[in-house]
Structure formats: structure tokens, C-alpha cells
Symmetry: C2
Subunit: 342 residues, 2 copies
DNA sequence: ACAAGAATCGTAAACGTTTACGATTTGCTT
DNA sequence: AAGCAAATCGTAAACGTTTACGATTCTTGT
């Protein structure tokens, strides 16, 4: 409630000096500087957000734009908190505040984004759930609002972006499966236009070809977004001719459905179908143990924030469009859901 | 980028009239009103957030304060999105914007909250993860910042609050278990000072007593926050003398660990240990089917927002401190994780 | 045609902060 | 002691919007 004028009156100095003292400007006496800081702490003065934003033209607020799919679900619901925390850990050190934004399910995500931008509500944005042709990217570029994306797109404009190395995951998974004698390897991905999906499909094709295995288009299957997507997936897989002996997945919930679907058919994970993909902490609750890749999501948040910062200081992003997909560390957790075929 | 002065110049009328037209004030001609709206749409004018906030003294921003536990986990990580969406669906109709706030793990949640409040960043707050003695409540009350809480506390000050009826869930669960012949019923709750925990414990004691069953203190067990909390829980339970035949839980991840823990000991869910509690969509992926209560979280969001709104218009909350815990609907999903003992 | 009231609009102050500019004081050099 | 630069501070404008107030025009009843 106490404003800067209260503070100035209380100290019997001018408003301008108080402001300069608080912002640690050079042309103010050290004595008064500390006196002001002391009084500010005592009176519990905190600068008013709106006043400061209007004067400086910057809000010190960064928006983390979350996206839900058509069913109101979010792929990254369990990811989100960690990434947010990582981002915030670096942003707070620069006096910036992070907020999560979620477009209402009743409103088109694009118009929601435009509202945010036009109101100048944030100094910068971080976009998630990047689509293959993501119109938001060129839009933000036109509005010259600093932003970064968690994921790349065909419409990239040189903004800093960061991707989890799902490409590498597929490559490594295929290598592991082949080493265990698998050749009939399916790829199960949720139906969507996320660029991640395309990246994984391409990696799948490329790495199978590299190993001299012909791609069976039937082995690339779309899974339902629903919770028993895994169950129906299993039903689909076991009807294929020939029947795949392994499946690579990306949705961290899916394996639970797969396990269930296998059980319903009297099959056991690993033995009758090898399963490998990217998971979260939930994965360690499956029996038999699920083989999966786990990313350091806090680190993802840290890195995207650090990539975003320079673009906010009118310094261009140091290394524009640098491919940094390998930079987020992940570990492979070797479970029993992959079986040796030999 | 276009401001209200651009708009005024373009239409050759005064700034004041433009503002009044946009805000649909009565003392402006219908013709000019529509002319202004048209031009605003064409030029893509959206009022600047900071300017408006400074002038009106209100930001039109509502903050949803999320809390993580000591491990950086959030009990409601899967809940969050739905609740957020529900809140936003009603708030947008009143021109209000919802943002999610998460205190950095490096910063004390209380000081983080004080920053938010003192900066007048939001018009109102919704608090979650309410503790038994939650200091934030009296603090917000002192700052007379409108707020509501998802959960009640001993320190309530008459703010609107809403609780999921975990009390009723425990009551119903005990009734069902007793009807199936159970009498050695355990209660497994995560270690925390959330008020929810106390409510469930009290309900547990009360309803067991009502049924003439003596409370065995050993049956109230604390679970680890970690992911294999369920596994260790099982190890704890099967060593008890006498050994409980059923367990009531609240953490939606826990059953996965319980199932695994039972499997490790050659036991099967339902048959050797009946399991019932509150779950999310994940629950339907367990085999055998998990008996659980599922809440309508979107509705929870809608209701808390509707309760918050009147307090923001200087109208006091219509029915202060009204107990509305029964108002969020939930359904019981009957699975095979409860077995008949008779 | 005239006065009174209603309708409509322009003017300017206000919100809380930052910052360019100029004024005053201080300290140093000779 | 005079002069100059550096240090320190006060003044006032500016950010973009809202709104109280007053001024002007329009309508209406006589």
C-alpha cells in the first residue's frame, strides 16, 4: 500500500532520488542509498507493477504458454512443473517473473495469444507444443516480441529453441532393439500435428533404413488420446501380419495401457512384446520394469530460459537457430520390457 | 503497437471519447460507438495492460497459486490443468485473465506470495495446498486482497473456500469395506501438514468409531513422497500384527506402487489387500480395476471462480464461510480392488 | 423562438513509476 | 581563494489509459 511518495516524504527527500536509490543508479550518495533501502524494507515498500511497467515499457513478466489437446489433456502435464521450475530458477535471478498461461478451451489458442501480445502483458513468451506449421511463430516474429520455443517447427524464424532429443531416442532405441534381434519394430505415436511426431517418424524411417530394414507402413500406428489408448494399441498390434515384436512409444501414459492390453490377451510385456520409449517418473511403477529414456526437465527449463534472456536485451540470440537438441541430458533406464530374441 | 491516441487521431475525435466508447459508457453516441469499435478492430487496437491497470487500479489478472512439496512434486499435478480450465471458463466471461503462479523452489513460498501481493500484480488470488495452520490466509486478509482457497484451514477468515469432499469419501469407503466384511482397515496418507490429511484422519476415526470398530493407531501410516511410496507402504502393511485387509489412500499415484509392492510379495490386489481411495484418469489403467472416487475437477474450478467473483466487486461473499464441500460432484468407480471377505 | 434539460463530446488531471535535464553542493587543483 | 569538475539531488515530463468536470450541441415543450 505504501507508494514511493510515502517513502520520499518519510525520508524527506525527493521522489526521483528514492527511485534512483532503489534502482541502484550511480548518481546517488551511498548513504542515502542505504537509508532508502532500509526505509523501504521497514515500510514494506515494493514498487507497483503497473506504474513501473508503464514507465519502463517493460513488465518483467515472462509467459509460459501451455497448450491442451482437443480432449483438454496435456501431453506434458507431468512435465510442466519441472520445466517451469527450471525456467523460473534462472529468471528470478534477473528480476523476472514467470507465469503460466493456458488458453481457455472455449477460445481459439491463436486469438488468445494475440490478446496476450497486444496487451503487452509480457516481455517475452515461451511456447510449447510446437506444431509442424506453427502459425504462432511467424506471428510473434512480426510483433517483435521476444520468444523461444520448446520444440522446433518448419516455420522457425531464428528464435532460440530447444528440443528434447526424441530423434536420438528413436535412434538409440532402434539400435538396442536390433542388437537384441528385433526386426519387426512398430512405432506408436499419438495422433497430432506436433512437430515432435514428425521428427520421430523421420528418425524411425532413417534409422531402420540405415540398418537395412525395410519400413512396413503398417507398423507406424496412431494411438488414441484417451487413457486406454494403450489397450486399443495392443489390439491393433497383435492383429498385424506379420506381428511386430517390439514397439517404440513417446506418450508417457501409454505404456500403462499397453501393459493392461497385453494382460487382457494373456501376454506379458517384454516376453511377447518389447516396449521402449520416453517416460517420466511414473514409469518406475510398472512391473516388469519399463525400459525408457528419462529427460532432465528442470535442465530443459534452465536452458530455454538462458537462451531466451539475450534476446530480451536487444542482443540478438548469440547463435541463432543453433541446434541444441542434444543439450538436454537424458538417461536410459534399462528395464525388463525388452527381451532378447536370439 | 497502436495506442488509443492513434485511434483517436485516425477517427478525428478525442481520446476521452474513444476510451468511453470502448468501455461502453452511456454518454457517447451510438454512431461514434460503433465507428470506434470498427476502427479498433481494423487497426487491431487492444488496450495496453499497464496503462489500464494504473488508471483503474485493477489489473484484471487473477493468480492461481500452485505449491510444490519439498521434493518439487505437486500432489495435484494432474489435477491442475482441469481446475485451471474450469476457473478460466468463468473468469474470461468477466474480462478477467487467469495465470498460474508457482513459487520458485529456491524461494520461501511466503515471501514469494508477499512479492506478488505488494506489487499489486493481481486483483485476486486462489490458493491451493492449504495447510492446517496456513499463515498465508491471515496475511492475505490483512492486505485486503480478495482471495479464495481450494481447501479450508484452521486459520480461515471467512474467505470463500471449496474442498473436495475427502471426508465423505472416507466415510463412504469405510461403509463399503465394512459391508464387505472388512474390519482391519488401514489409512495411508502422504506425510504433510495439508489440512486435507487431518480431515481424512478425523473422518477415519469418527466413522470407524461409529461402526464400533476400535482404531488401531498402527493402521494410520505415513507414505513416502517418492514414487515407490506404495512399494514401501506394502512392506510396512504386511508386517503389521494384525495385518490389515484393506487400505484407503488419497494420493493418486500411490496405487501403482501398491500394486507393484503386492506383486513383489506374491500377493494380488483385491484378494490379499483391498484398495480404495481417490484417483484420477490414471486409475483406469491398473489391473485389476481400481476402485476409486473420481472428482469433477473442471467443476471444482468453475465453482471456486464463481465464489471468488462477488468478493472482487466489494460485495461481500454472499454466504461467508459456507460449507460447500459437498458441492463438487464425484463418482465412485467400482473395480475389483475390493474383495468380499465373507 | 426561447429556455431548459438531455445528449454528446473535449479537456485535463490522475494513477505510480522512471529518467532526462538542470541546479546545487562538494571536493580538488592551482 | 578562485575556478572547475564531480557528485548529488530536485524538478518535471513521460508512459497509456480512465474519468470527473465542464463545454457545446441537440431536443423538446411552451
Amino acid at each position: 500500500m505504501t507508494g514511493i511518495r510515502d517513502l520520499a516524504r518519510h525520508l524527506d527527500i525527493s521522489i526521483g532520488t528514492v527511485s534512483r536509490a532503489l534502482n541502484d543508479k550511480p548518481d546517488v550518495n551511498q548513504d542515502t542509498k542505504s537509508k532508502v533501502l532500509k526505509a523501504a524494507a521497514e515500510l514494506g515498500y515494493v514498487p507497483n507493477q503497473a506504474g513501473r511497467a508503464l514507465s519502463k515499457g517493460r513488465t518483467n513478466v515472462i509467459g509460459f504458454v501451455l497448450q491442451t489437446d482437443s480432449e483438454g489433456m496435456m501431453q506434458g502435464d507431468l512435465f510442466f512443473i519441472r520445466v517451469f521450475d527450471g525456467m523460473q530458477s534462472v529468471l528470478t535471478q534477473h528480476g523476472l517473473n514467470l507465469v503460466a498461461l493456458l488458453s481457455p478451451s472455449t477460445v481459439d489458442p491463436e486469438t488468445y495469444l494475440k490478446q496476450i501480445v497486444a496487451r503487452r502483458f509480457t516481455d517475452a513468451l515461451v511456447l510449447s507444443s510446437i506444431h509442424r506449421n506453427d502459425a504462432r511463430i511467424s506471428y510473434l516474429s512480426d510483433q517483435n516480441l521476444p520468444f523461444a520455443t520448446l520444440g522446433r517447427s518448419l516455420t522457425d524464424v531464428g528464435q532460440p529453441w530447444l528440443d528434447l532429443d526424441f530423434d536420438g531416442v528413436v535412434e538409440d532405441a532402434i539400435r538396442r532393439l536390433i542388437a537384441k534381434g528385433h526386426s519387426k519394430i512398430a512405432l506408436a505415436l499419438p495422433r497430432s500435428d506436433l512437430n515432435l511426431r514428425h521428427i520421430m517418424v523421420e528418425s524411425y524411417r532413417r534409422n531402420l533404413a540405415k540398418s537395412g530394414i525395410e519400413v512396413n507402413e503398417d507398423f507406424i500406428v496412431e494411438t488414441d488420446a484417451g487413457d486406454n489408448g494403450g489397450v486399443t494399441l495392443v489390439h491393433d498390434l497383435i492383429e498385424l501380419q506379420p506381428r511386430p515384436t517390439a514397439v517404440i512409444y513417446s506418450d508417457h501414459i501409454l505404456p500403462f495401457g499397453i501393459y493392461r492390453g497385453l494382460a487382457e490377451n494373456g501376454l506379458t510385456p517384454g516376453q511377447d512384446l518389447s516396449i521402449i520409449g520416453v517416460g517420466t517418473r511414473l514409469a518406475s511403477l510398472l512391473t516388469p520394469n519399463l525400459s525408457h529414456y528419462r529427460f532432465n526437465l528442470f535442465d530443459l527449463g534452465v536452458q530455454i530460459a538462458e537462451a531466451l534472456l539475450p534476446t530480451m536485451q536487444d542482443r540478438p540470440f548469440s547463435d541463432p537457430n543453433k541446434i541444441i537438441r542434444e543439450s538436454v541430458p537424458y538417461t536410459f533406464i534399462d528395464g525388463d520390457s525388452i527381451q532378447d530374441m536370439t
